[in-house]
Amino acid sequence: MFFIPGPIIAALSFPGVIIHETGHLFFCKLFKLQVYDVCFFQFGNPAGYVVHEETENFTALFFVSLGPFFVNTTLCVIFCSAAFLPVWELKVTDPLAYFFYWLGLSIGMHAFPSTADLSNLWDKAPTLAKKGNPLAIISLPFAALLYVLNLARVVWADLGYGIAVGILGPLALFRALAR
């Protein structure tokens, strides 16, 4: 395993940071939460952020916290699908395909929510899960898994996730279409 400074990784995969923060902003606006500050990208830690008001609405909290994970994952599959066949299966040299693979992987590797996002969710989910709130029940294993994966970023779990989604997603999609 080799170490590459965070700002360099963020710079190489900046579209993913921007999409992640746009996801937070989108869900804040959707649930009418006040947004105090937004940084779509910066050379620092964190590479981007959205500061918004706290909410007691768990649905809003769920989507604001985990929304970017689903958005980034979906966009990763879409962009990588446009590039998967020429790059991986057909071995065709098409610059546009390589551009889309970079874009898709960049987006995919920034899918994980931050530990701050997960902490908010983790604080409120157990009580609501006991009361039978389905989103709270779903969010518990999700948050636990993503928390672990987030810690595993030091061993490139985020890049691994992007690659897995960017390859396995389109592969499953195209194999299903070819049936």
Binding site: P15, I18, T22, L25, C28, K29, Q34, V35, Y36, D37, V38, F40, E53, I78, F79, A82, A83, L85, P86, E89, L90, K91, V92, D94, L96, A97, F99, F100, L103, F174, R175, L177, A178, R179
Partner: protein, 357 residues
């Protein structure tokens, strides 16, 4: 900026430096102390920071001593910040970038249609190869190779499918289309599988070529047939080899003057491949039987088969040319009741032409 005074120590400074604890105002050191004492007595110890409603919580703009900023949610916000906080706009550059990326995605999807088509053919071909439906798989894989001749996967699948149905030429074309037959990983299992198939097919083709050469020389049909049978059993996927072996068997039967076996083998070929050449060969065998027995029924059957051979050759000038050459010799056999092979016929009647079987 508004000022406040600490309930405990009397410090007076800006409100934002103070905290509210149990309804009273404290500076930071005093609120820690008060909170700690309350906690030790088992009383609530939470405290909150005081906000100065004349200071915008976001940009710090001062509204003046006489009026406050509007409190939105829990925070005072100036007239500039309030609308932004309530509905934070997407920046123009973000919208423009999104539009550009969507446009590029549309271009990629449009440009990628040929890849989707090739990819779909590849997956269908792969599935059919897995199901051992090689003949069905090959057209799909050839379609993929038109777009992706350097795809290892497509090349290996196409070569395998082609070799499994005895189509060495198509396998060769697929392999040569990939960097002139160069593959980076010589230990790849798919590569090794195709190489084993290829080596077997080429070994059989060598034997088949030798058999054909011997047959052309004339008088070596028995040896040629044996070689061709070896080739056919080494590479049974190539039905043509087994067909050629049967043809050489027929030639060998002719050579040893076993005209019953000659007729039987040619009829078998004709049944399996009802073409001009096989029809003419049956006519040739009937002509032999007529020459030996003088039975007019054999002559009639020979004439009938010649008609069928001519009928089937009409569409193809090359076949017609071959038929005319063969017909001439068969008719000589029927008229003279003398059985001679092609080299002898050529020697007698076609001086100057190359000798052959």
């Amino acid at each position: 900026m508004r000022q406040a005074t600490c309930h405990s120590c009397g410090l007076t400074t800006t409100i934002r430096s103070f905290y509210s604890f149990q309804g009273k105002t404290y500076c930071e050191p005093c609120v820690w102390k008060a909170s700690k004492e309350a906690a030790e007595k088992g009383q609530p110890s939470e405290y909150t920071s005081l906000t100065d409603n004349s200071i915008c919580a976001r940009c710090g703009a001062y509204s003046g001593d006489s009026k406050d900023h509007a409190v939105i949610g829990k925070l005072p916000l100036c007239a500039t910040c309030a609308p932004q906080v309530v509905s934070w706009p997407y920046p123009q550059w973000l919208k423009a970038s999104l539009a550009v990326v969507l446009a590029l995605l549309l271009i990629a999807l449009s440009n990628g249609r040929k890849y989707f088509k090739a990819g779909k053919s590849l997956y269908i071909g792969e599935r059919l190869v897995d199901e051992k439906q090689y003949a069905k798989a090959l057209p799909y894989l050839e379609e993929t190779l038109k777009i992706a001749p350097r795809s290892d996967k497509a090349v290996f699948l196409a070569a395998k499918a082609a070799l499994k149905i005895g189509d060495v030429a198509t396998a060769d074309k697929a392999i040569q289309g990939h960097n002139g037959g160069y593959f980076e990983d010589a230990n790849d299992s798919d590569y090794l599988e195709v190489k084993a198939l290829w080596d077997r097919a080429i070994g059989a083709a060598d034997k088949a070529n030798k058999a054909t050469e011997l047959a052309k020389q004339g008088g070596h049909d028995v040896e040629a047939a044996k070689l061709m049978h070896d080739a056919a059993s080494a590479y049974p996927e190539a039905e043509g080899l087994s067909e050629a072996a049967t043809q050489l068997d027929a030639g060998a039967a002719f050579e040893r003057k076993d005209y019953d076996a000659f007729l039987e083998l040619e009829q078998k070929q004709w049944k399996q491949y009802p073409e001009s050449g096989t029809a003419a060969a049956v006519a040739s065998a009937f002509a032999c039987k007529y020459a030996i027995t003088g039975n007019a029924e054999f002559r009639k059957q020979a004439e009938d088969m010649l008609k069928q051979a001519e009928e089937r050759a009409k569409a193809d000038p090359k076949q017609m040319e071959n038929f005319r050459e063969y017909e001439e010799r068969i008719r000589y056999r029927l008229q003279s009741r003398e059985i001679i092979d092609k080299p002898e016929y050529d020697r007698r009647f076609r001086q100057g032409q190359a000798a052959g079987k």
